[in-house]
Each structure stands twice: as structure tokens, then as C-alpha cells.
């Protein structure tokens, strides 16, 4: 089989899609928390955290949400197509050592990133709780996969499945009765910030998996810089995991808006083009 062939494609909900890509070198090497960069046709280079690997079959799984032109281009690729460029595994893996009881918190598409971490923790003998947040029931995915490795609680904003509210509501309740020594959080920046604020007060080590704007992913462009503990760090070579209590989330929230206008225009243009076709 040709390297980078799409061997599995599954729509997880309206906008979130899972791809299985044949690349034995990356599948063999990848560890929880690392990412790959995809580039297809005239797309940008898109960093995606690895969701799972089948080392025997040499398959790397990634999950992405269609949000702009580049992810729309990837989304058009079909089963059997060859992704033009696929490189990894990049970044440092999540350090899961020493934790006795961990809480893995994820929001939306972030659940894909949290799953391998929950698995690695569980395999390491750590007791794992998972709190998964979605806007609504129809967006929920990976629930069963999480249940096989963690005691899993679902939270939806509208209460259509599991508890109604936010992941932080459940976290606060859990903290009253459980003794976590590690929290891993991945999802929208405001959610990660809120989780960090709560666990900081309880003095629980908290890892946030960051996904800033990135191009090369190997420490060349400097686009993925963020401030951690008052110092500039680069998510691609220093991360993507950072101490959630030290990340300047407000700065990143502002920075991630850099291309909002550009992307809205580009996406509309792309969709118009597709409609014409």
C-alpha cells in the first residue's frame, strides 16, 4: 500500500471526522500527546494531535473538525486517496509517570487528543476519571472508547446527555470527594483556562495540551509561540503540553483571533466555488 493512504474514514458527528492513515514509521513511533502535520492539495500545513495508532497495521488515526478551508480540503479526500504530505510524530509525548489518580478533561474535538492520554495513564496503572464536554448529545463521540479505560462522565451544555452544564461543574463536584494528583485538560482555550484556575487553588498538577497556530512544527517559524511562566515557549518543540497554571491563556485567546477575518472570507470563497462545481 502507498504511504499516507486513507484506510479509514468515519464521520464522528456533523463536523468532526476520523481518518486512519497508513504510515508505519509514524504509527510505530507515536506516543500519547504527540501530533502530526498534514498537507493536502493546496491546503495549509495542519497540525493534528494523534488520536490513536494501530502499530501492527501501521495506521495513524487523527480526528479533525471542519472549521476552515484547509480542513474542508482534507475532508474532501476519500477512502483510498493518498494524503500528499504527512509528517510526525512531532512534539513531546505526555508525561504520564507517577500519577496515582488522574482526571482527564476534554471538550469537543479535544476528546480525540485526550483518549490516547487516558489510555496511556490507564496502562500505566493510574486510576483514571474522564470528564467529556459537548454542546449537545448529537455531537458526542468516543464515549465507549473512554469507558474502556476510564470512569467516564459526559457533560452537555443543553443537558441532552449526561449532566447539564460545563466540565468545570463536574470537576468541582469531583474534587470534593476524589483525591486527584494529576489533571490533563484539552479543549477550547477558555475551558482550559477555567480548569487551570480551579486546580491551581487545590494545588493539583495540571497539564494543558496546547494547539496554537503553527506552520512547520519543527522549531523554525516561531508562529506557535506562547508565554509560559513569563517566558516565550514554542508549542512545537517545547510542548504541546504545558503546565496549565503557568500558561498565559488570555494572550493565546487573543492571538488565535489573528486570522479570523481572513479565514471567514477564504472559507466563504471556497464554499462558493464548491457550490458552483
Amino acid at each position: 500500500m502507498k504511504l499516507n493512504t486513507i484506510v479509514e474514514k468515519q464521520q464522528l458527528n456533523d463536523t468532526v471526522c476520523l481518518l486512519g492513515i497508513f504510515n508505519p514509521a509514524v504509527a510505530t513511533k507515536a506516543k500519547a500527546g504527540q501530533f502530526v502535520i498534514l498537507q493536502h492539495e493546496n491546503s495549509e500545513r495542519i497540525p493534528l494531535t494523534i488520536a490513536d495508532c494501530n502499530k501492527e497495521k501501521g495506521i495513524v488515526y487523527v480526528v479533525f473538525q471542519q472549521v476552515g478551508v484547509s480542513t474542508a480540503i482534507i475532508n474532501q479526500a476519500k477512502l483510498g486517496d493518498v494524503i500528499h504530505h504527512f509528517v510526525g510524530p512531532l512534539g513531546n509525548h505526555t508525561n504520564t509517570n507517577d500519577a496515582k489518580y488522574a482526571c482527564v478533561i476534554a471538550g469537543g474535538v479535544g476528546c480525540a487528543i485526550a483518549l490516547p492520554v487516558a489510555k496511556a495513564l490507564s496502562q500505566n496503572g493510574t486510576k483514571v476519571d474522564a470528564i467529556l464536554g459537548f454542546r449537545s448529545q448529537n455531537l458526542v463521540f468516543f464515549e465507549e472508547k473512554f469507558q474502556s479505560v476510564a470512569s467516564t462522565q459526559i457533560v452537555t451544555n443543553d443537558g441532552s446527555l449526561g449532566q447539564k452544564g460545563l466540565v468545570t461543574d463536574v470537576l468541582v463536584e469531583n474534587l470534593n470527594k476524589k483525591q486527584y494528583d494529576l489533571v490533563f485538560v484539552v479543549g477550547p482555550l477558555p475551558m482550559m483556562k477555567a480548569v487551570g484556575d480551579i486546580t491551581k487553588n487545590c494545588n493539583i498538577k495540571t497539564i494543558a495540551s496546547m494547539n496554537p497556530i503553527m506552520i512547520d512544527g519543527t522549531g523554525m517559524c516561531g508562529g506557535c509561540r506562547l508565554t509560559v511562566d513569563g517566558k516565550t515557549a514554542f508549542a512545537c518543540v517545547d510542548g504541546p503540553d504545558f503546565d496549565a497554571h503557568k500558561v498565559d491563556f488570555d494572550q493565546l485567546i487573543a492571538r488565535n483571533k489573528t486570522y479570523q477575518q481572513f479565514e471567514r472570507h477564504a472559507y466563504e470563497k471556497h464554499c462558493n466555488l464548491l457550490n458552483k462545481q
Binding site: 495549509e44 523554525m220 508565554t227
Partner: protein, 457 residues
Amino acid sequence: MINNQKTKTPMPIQDAKLRIKNFDEVALGYTLEQAQNEALRCLSCKNSPCTSACPVGVNIKDFIAFIKQGDFEKAYHEIAKTNCLPAVCGRVCPQETQCESKCVCGIKGQPVAIGRLERFVADWYAQHEHNLKAPLSTKQKIAVVGSGPSGLACAGDLAKLGYKVTVFEALHTLGGVLVYGIPHFRLPKEIVFKEVENLKKLGVEFCCDVVVGKTLDVDELKNDGFSAIYLATGAGLPKFMNIKGEHLSGVYSANEYLTRINLMKAYQPTSTTPILKGKKVCVVGGGNVAMDAARSALRMGSEVHVVYRRSEKELPARKEEIEHGKEEGLIFDFLTNPIEVLEKDGFVRGLKCVKMQLGAPDQSGRRRPEVIENSQFIIDCDLVIMALGTSPNPLLKTNTPNLETDKWGCIVVDENLQTSIENVYAGGDATTGSATVILAMSQGKKAAKSINEKLSK
């Protein structure tokens, strides 16, 4: 016959008013007549001072002699003996501080335009069909990490010596800084790809999308049967000033800005790569990368200021680029140093600077810039590009614990460019920090020589 003309034969260039609206090459290249006219200015000095000032030792007077005779094929092969990327070097080498600085004609007039002649020969050769035959690859397998100028130079020399060479590149396109960094208007990408094609004809294999240290590590390469490895991973993380506001939207490193434009083709209307186009852009720095970023920004439609803390005399960029930049309308703010990037709604609204004056010379021999008190002022701008150089990439070191680096993170090598690991060599910006294309190439060639000597024992 000698041409006594005191000045260089002028290079045809694209008009400044036209060229700031496109990314096409600025210098158009000599015609055959212009090249021969310029070649006739060469005095063929016996001791060839020019050659001694060339980092790769190109036999300059002999290749120029072949131009005089009209034998451009031979002229090319004379250059190619020591320089496998003449079309690139003819365009981007700082000739004024190398070969041309030692030219005898330069004493009473301008030196012979050696760079332009080198480019002429390389372009002439590229326009004519050649049957390059791959040498018999009978010797050991060698891995070259990085397809920038240093890696390509090393790969070319080793292939010619009969080694089986594989080049590993982290990005999706070959050429390293020649492709992601240097803009099209200074070095058209077809020229780089043509040079890569020539190496493929010599039997060199290329693998994109492989990050050595991540996808594969040095030990695995050794176990895969590579007898020697040359690490030419280039410079790394862009430097910032550590001033307030550097994380605002609209502050780019020059690497990021140029990568978006060059590698990701943001200058083409069909590109999906986002880029902020400032109305008024400040580029901080005075090297070649700063000029490349500034002149790219001009072409993206911005008013561009180059903010440099020393004076014009200390600008480290290549002279021709500074002149071209001025013709194109770059505004230079010399003796000016930024102290804060000012914000509005998360985006850049200005650059707060102080005025500088030059004091006593520092270790580099250049006069040290000192702040003039109470000289703060603001340049209104909506984009800031930091072109302050790079610090070495930590990626390879992190994943190769026994690879020795110095306190700045540069890979440590001995006089033969061997690293702390047996049969693993390194060169180019990865060992020296940010330098020039030709210096990186000269190290690639040196590593090839060392590898050949070691493996031939």
C-alpha cells in the same frame, strides 16, 4: 584582449515601479554579449586573489577565460568542480565581501562582476540539454539530514565520489532556506528545483516529510546501514527581543512571514495560506533576512520601514539588496531600537522606539549602539516583523542525548566536522548559527571530504 572599462557592465533589472507589484526576479541576468564584455575586464591575475576569497575556492579566472572564448559548457564544468549550486550562488552570495573584494580591478574602479558571470554560466547551462550520467554508486550508504544548501552540497560531492546518498527533509518541499526563506524575486524556486533535479540525476535520493530526531533517529539511521550521517538541519528558533507586546497578533518572526509567503505561497491569489497584510510594516533588523522580509512586504502592498539600531554603514545585508530595496521604496530608520509593541484590540498599532548613537567598538569590531536618553518616539504601524537571527533548533539534541552541543545549543564538531558521535558529521547553520548560503555549502563540501577520507581508510 582586455576591456579597460572601469565599471561593471550594468545588470539588466526589472524597473522598480513594476517589480514592487510582482514577485518575479529583480535582476534579469546578462546577455551573452554583456557576459563576454564583462569577462574581458578580467586580468587573469597569476595568483588569483579572487579564488582565495571564495569559501569553496571556485577557479574564477579559468571559468572567466572560458567565457571569453565563448565555451560556456567548459566554463560551467570549471565552476561545477567546486560549486554544485552555481545558479544559486551567483544570485545570493555576498560577492562584495568575498571574491570581488580581492579583485585587482577593484583598486582603481569596480571589481569584475564575478557573481553575475557565475550566474550567466549557470543559467546558460540550465537552458541547454545535458545528459548527466549518474556515477556508479558502488560505495557505502550516506544519510544527509536537511536539503538546504549545506545538505545539497554534501550530497552532490558524495554522489560524485560514488556513494549512495539519501537526503532527508522535514518539510514537504526540498531546498530548505532556499525555498522557505529566500523570496522568489531574489532566487526563483525553479532554479532550486533544477539544482535538486541535477542531484537526482547523479543518483541522490530524496525523502520529504522525515524529521530526523522524531520520525527516525540517528541510531536508527546507523542500524539501517548508513555508514555516515551529515546533519545539516539549519538554524532554528527565531529570536525575539523580549519586549512588551511581542505576542500581539501582527508580530511575525521573519521566518514565519517569509515561510507563509514563499513556502506556503501566500503571495499567490489561489493560496489558502492566511497572512496579515499591513498598511505600514516595521521590519526590525538589518541582515539579508530583514531585507527579504521588507521587500516581500513591499510587494504585498505595504509601506515598509526597516528599523535598525546601528547606522547604514553597519548594515550586514548584501549591498545589492540594500540598493534594490531603496529603489523599491524601503524607508530606513537607522539608529533606532524598538522598546515596545503597542496594542489595540489584540493587534499591533505601533512600535515604540528609542534613538541610538554609536559608541566605542565592541567585540565584533562594530561600534556599539547606545540609547540616547529621553528620545522615545512612536512609529505608527500595524505589522511588525522581527528579523533578529535564530538560535539553534533544540529538536535534534533533545532526541539525541549523546550529541554534544555548546552553551548556545550549536552542535559541537571537530576540525573535520565530526560530532561527538562516531561517523556523524554536522555543518552549516546548525553548527555556526545563522550564516550565509555559501558558508553552509563550503561546510557541506568539507564534510563530504572528511566522510570520504574516513570511509576510505
